[in-house]
């Protein structure tokens, strides 16, 4: 039997079938890209701690659920196919309870049913907004789901005639302005003021027109130009508010930044200091037709500005730190634990993640492993500039994963701060950080010069003094001889 297995394995290897050796019991595979852009294995940062189905709570399966929202310990599931909103509670012991199931809101004393809602937002003061998509409206409700305001298609919003008003995602910032991501709208987000009046389109992604397109268009006739697809801004597919009140928007257009973080002016303030673009996978192959760049559909952000983007192409979760460095990638496509068939939404509750699969209707809960926690703790301190303190956590991270670039750089920066230039140079060198190395080296060079300057001085002195002296001596000697 053993021999047979060996032969099978050898055959598989010869045929180029990847024989995956999984490190963890859950069958998940976490990786990170190294300096050269090669995917290298990493310990699991997040691990599956629960898998929730509607059936478990006796309310029937979720049908094509499209959105998750979390606040405090409550998890809202927008169960689009059943036109309802399910509220769950995550208990501290890791279990989950059903709080309520909502099919309707109360408007003017009468119930008004939802129809295929796709987005939900709950504010810290308890108000609820729901994107009641197929009723073509947004409902603003108090904590008891009594409608305060019904927002219909605004007059003069320049929505194209042939399209219905289909709000898909809602977000409210601390000034109580409402931002709506609407299907068929490519002018950015629809912004409503706190009284539900349409204000403006905001945060549209800039249109990218390459020089080739420009040239091509110049050569075309007007008739040709008319039938060609116009260069219009891309449609967003999601909007989230992070803990600082910035808006995270995602889109799947390969010419536009996949993730944008918008400030109140609607301009992108996402920090992109990472080695790779915040675009998900750096390189990819073709596995059963799954190919092409990652397409982000949702963002979950943590307290320390780490954010995790959900890729619908490969069902992967890409975690980026506050500087845009890739931290770890996990998840995948499939019917396994920690994998997804049709990714639809991702939300964070503290550091816990809930990921929603529209196809299976299941919610996968992820929690930090020791490794993920060490990275998170290190980043907490690192972000506040406490390099020395964070270095201890980075050491922990390195013990668990020798491939983690940020840990080397974190330690190097801490060593540089403490004046260990030589050691800092070594750590920077290990991770090919030329800029950091240069900074440490400048200090080291100065130190070295100060230390050995006397040698140069002595050498110079010797060069300047000795030959004349010898000359003099020779001269004197000659004179003595002649005399």
């Amino acid at each position: 039997m053993k021999r047979f297995l060996c032969i099978v394995l050898a055959c598989a290897m010869l045929m180029g079938v990847p024989v995956s050796v999984t490190a963890s019991q859950t069958g998940s595979f976490t990786y990170i890209y190294n300096y050269w852009g090669i995917a290298t294995p990493s310990p699991d940062a997040y691990t599956v701690t629960a898998f929730l189905l509607g059936d478990q709570f006796g309310i029937g399966h979720f049908v094509r659920p499209q959105h998750l929202f979390a606040i405090e310990d409550r998890l809202y599931v927008v169960d689009t196919g059943n036109s309802r909103v399910v509220t769950l509670r995550a208990n501290p012991d890791g279990t989950h309870d059903l709080l309520e199931v909502r099919y309707y809101a109360t408007m003017d004393g009468a119930a008004t049913r939802f129809n295929g809602p796709m987005g939900l937002f709950v504010s810290d003061w308890g108000d609820v907004w729901i994107a009641d998509t197929y009723n073509h409206r947004i409902l603003h409700m108090d904590e008891n789901w009594n409608v305060i305001r019904e927002i219909l298609q605004p007059e003069g919003s320049l929505l194209e005639e042939q399209h219905d008003f289909l709000p898909e995602n809602v977000a409210v910032d601390f000034t109580r302005r409402l931002f709506v991501q609407t299907r068929h709208v490519n002018r950015g987000l629809m912004e409503f003021d706190r009284y539900g009046e349409f204000a403006v389109y905001t945060g549209a992604a800039p249109v990218f027109v390459g020089w080739w397109d420009r040239l091509w268009r110049r050569l075309q006739t007007q008739a040709q130009r008319d039938v060609q697809a116009p260069f219009i801004p891309t449609e967003y597919n999601n909007v989230r508010v992070d803990h600082e009140g910035f808006l995270f928007v995602t889109n799947t257009n390969s010419n536009v930044d996949s993730v944008r973080r918008l400030n109140t002016m609607g301009s992108d303030v996402l920090i992109r200091n990472g080695q790779f673009d915040i675009e998900g996978d750096v390189s990819w192959g073709n596995i059963h037709g799954i190919t092409g760049p990652s397409q982000f559909i949702d963002i979950a952000s943590l307290e320390n500005d780490t954010f995790i983007a959900f890729d619908r192409v490969r069902g992967r979760l890409f975690s980026y730190d506050f500087q845009g460095n890739l931290l770890y990638v996990f998840g995948g496509v499939g019917n396994r634990e920690g994998h997804f068939v049709e990714p639809s939404s991702l939300v964070s509750m503290g550091t816990t993640l809930f990921a929603l699969d529209a196809h299976t209707g299941g919610i996968t809960r992820f929690d930090f492993t020791d490794y993920g926690l060490a990275i998170n703790n290190a980043l907490d301190l690192y972000r506040r500039g406490l390099y020395e303190e964070s270095a201890e956590y980075w050491q922990d991270v390195l013990r668990m994963n020798g491939n983690f670039r940020l840990a080397y750089l974190g330690i190097a920066r801490s060593l540089l701060r403490q004046g260990y230039y030589r050691e800092a140079m070594r750590y920077f060198r290990l991770e090919n950080d030329a800029q950091g190395y240069g900074r440490a080296f400048r200090f080291y060079r100065r130190q070295w010069m100060e230390q050995y300057f006397w040698m140069f001085a002595v050498a110079l002195g010797v060069v300047m003094i000795v030959p004349p002296v010898i000359k003099r001596i020779n001269k004197v000697r000659r004179e003595i001889k002649e005399a």
Partner: protein, 216 residues
Amino acid sequence: MASLRSFDFREYLKSLLYVFYIFRKPLAGFWDLIHEGKGSMAAAHTFVLLMIVVQVLRQTVSNFQFVNINMESFNIVMVFMQIIIPMFLWCVANWSLTTLLDGKGKLSHIYMGAAYALAPMIIIDAALIPVSHVLTYDEAMLYDMFTQIGIGWFVLLLLCAMKEIHDYSFAKAIGSSLLTVLAIGIILFIFIMFFAVISDGIAYVISLIQEISMRL
């Protein structure tokens, strides 16, 4: 063996050091290199060899702040090829062209001229190796500047060499050099096409044999 025994080391050294005269007076230098027999093929080979050695060293022992390549994929043969193949193509393409354009130079002259023109790049790149360990990342501009000076100097010397070897005017030297670059492109294109056709031909014959052997 006889040629090796008759090898005059002093003459060789003289022809090698002649490059410094070329630095000072490129035009007269390249004229005498060919017409007065000041240069030697041995020295030309030495320059090409030195170029390879220096480029290998530059990629391996320079400080990573300025030259950073993945050592896992470093291939010394590739460096070798990157110098030998352009050199070979330049000589062949230039010779093919200049024979048609009343060039006076022989193939060996073109090779010698091009090899001697490499000298400033060799010296500057070699000097930059230790320098890279003293400079910091912020001073990369200095490093890049010297690299570019080396390349610029090389191009200038090459033009001078072509002018003097073929007894051209400057305009004609530049024009013929540009045409040479074009000719190199054509040679490469034909080369690639040739290989594609050959491999297709072989594949065709193989499949034919397979077909026949299966029918039998």
